[in-house]
């Protein structure tokens, strides 16, 4: 029997050399890798979602961020109730927008119309980054559900978790956690933990940068009274208007910046990480979702 010219043993060195070449290719030459990753995700995601549910059961998220005893049905009902509340809010906003339009005509100042028609959908987490809790994760929702790049992911209604990247396919999308350094600078405000209803303490704006260890760092002048335990919420024009005010984390440590003695360095720790939950709530533009539903007939 003639020996095969190409055997697995002989092909292996070539495969290794090829892999080495691919590993040092520049980013622009590696965009084709998204396709095999997506194909792999199609097979792995359904099982990974179940695995994440099991992981959440074995190691639940911190109790301060999750009401004990809540089932998936309870959470879905809360999501619906919140949608009704948001609809009523939109009705009031319509009145406000009408007045703004009149004011705009009078003053000729352009104003953005924001927040109308936002619908929440739950998105199960599938594949996670194998090497880091801050890595991107795959969500089981995509264009067919109205998800667009930049969609915001939240948990418990007010806990900010991250944003959807440009990688959105028909049934899946990729979520970049807020703690990932790729998120970049975020503008937020510090809410004093001692602030009462009638307090005159004003919120202090800070610029937050994700760190390597899953926390955030910010700088502030020492004249700003910022204490450990204060809460940090989102106040960034690059994020949707309805996301403003959502929780980013709690100030863990405040200490003097050695390079700038008149400024404090602030370490902020998020109360919840993407790695601790098995699903997130995505805010989807209602018009986009209806359009996707009409095109396909059924979104779920």
């Amino acid at each position: 029997m003639p020996r095969a010219i190409v055997t697995a043993q002989r092909a292996f060195p070539f495969v290794i050399v090829l892999t080495l070449i691919v590993s040092i290719m520049p980013a622009q030459a590696l965009r084709w890798t998204e396709f095999p990753a997506e194909v792999l995700g199609i097979f792995l995601n359904p099982f990974a979602e179940k695995g994440n549910v099991l992981a959440s059961w074995l190691r639940p998220p911190p109790s301060s961020s999750l009401i004990s005893g809540m089932t998936r049905a309870d959470i879905d009902k809360l999501v619906i109730d919140k949608a009704i509340a948001e609809q009523q809010l939109r009705a009031e906003r319509d009145t406000v927008e009408s007045l703004k339009a009149q004011l705009e005509q009078l003053q000729r100042i352009p104003m953005d119309v924001a927040g109308a028609g936002v619908n929440p959908i739950t998105a199960p987490i599938g594949l996670r980054s194998p090497s880091s809790a801050k890595g991107t994760v795959a969500l089981g929702r995509g264009r067919n559900h109205g998800v667009k790049p930049g969609a915001v992911a939240v948990y418990n209604g007010d806990q900010l978790l991250g944003r959807v990247t440009d990688d959105v396919s028909a049934a899946q999308c990729t979520l970049m956690p807020l703690t990932n350094v790729g998120t970049g600078m975020i503008a937020g405000v510090v809410i004093s933990s001692e602030r009462g209803e009638n307090s005159n303490v004003r919120s202090r704006a800070i610029a937050i940068q994700p760190r390597d260890d899953g926390t955030f760092v910010a700088q502030a002048d020492k004249v700003e009274v910022i204490r450990e335990g204060d809460e940090v919420v989102l106040k960034d024009a690059m994020w949707p208007e309805w996301a403003q005010g959502m929780k980013i984390g709690v100030i863990e440590r405040v200490f003097t910046n050695d390079l700038e003695p008149l400024r404090n360095t602030i370490i902020i720790r998020p109360q919840l990480l993407v790695s601790q939950v098995s699903f997130v709530v995505l805010k989807v533009d209602q018009t986009d979702r209806d359009g996707a539903t009409n095109r396909r007939g059924s979104s779920k």
């Binding site: 290794i16 892999t19 980013a27 695995g51 074995l58 996670r128 194998p130 809790a133 790695s275």
Partner: protein
């Protein structure tokens, strides 16, 4: 080695690595927390018993699957080679050492998993270091040294987990159909 069995176990271990890792994650440690490399445990088990060629191919395939998983860095591509080549390097190390150890001991799997992950981390850091010359922001954990230290932490944790995982895999050894790789041979392949 029976490749369908490898496919099933590889699929299961990759799912565990990508979904159940949070159960084992140590958040309090630096770099956003570390978790063990479960797929490396499987790769070590295969490298201990399979034929040399089959073991290296299996390591490459497992590394490739991990490379195609969601990335840690905010990139629009998947860096193929970081784990694929790292696992092959680890496999080569294990193939060299397997003639000197008691292969059926679960402690052996644990120790060799540590060695495997260290070797894989070194290769991964070398690749990332080369890429950092022309791609900024390649390192996600404070440079090459930070990645190495973090890799060492993952190696230790993986080695600890490798002991029970090695025992579990040892109970399935009859399914794999390993061939003469289990025979003692001086200077074996």
């Amino acid at each position: 080695m029976r490749w369908p069995v490898f496919a099933i176990f590889g699929f299961i271990f990759v799912i565990v690595q990508l979904s159940l890792r949070n159960v084992f994650m140590l958040h309090s440690l630096g770099g956003g927390g570390i978790s063990p490399d479960v797929v490396a445990c499987l790769a070590v088990f295969i490298a201990l018993f399979a034929h040399r060629s089959a073991a290296l191919w299996a390591c490459w395939i497992l590394g490739l699957l991990v490379d195609l998983a969601p990335q840690e860095r905010a990139t629009s591509f998947h860096l193929i080679g970081e784990h694929a080549l790292g696992y092959v390097a680890g496999g080569i190390v294990v193939l060299q050492l397997r003639t000197m150890v008691f292969r059926r001991r679960s402690l052996t799997v644990g120790f060799l998993t540590l060695v495997f992950v260290v070797a894989a981390s070194v290769v991964a850091v070398i690749i990332l270091s080369i890429r950092s010359w022309y791609t900024p922001g390649t390192f996600a954990h404070g440079g090459a040294l930070g990645e190495l230290v973090r890799g060492l932490g993952i190696a230790v944790y993986s080695g600890l987990l490798g002991v029970p995982v090695g025992w579990l895999l040892g109970t399935t050894i009859s399914l794999w159909g390993f061939q003469s790789g289990t025979q003692r041979r001086s200077g074996g392949r």
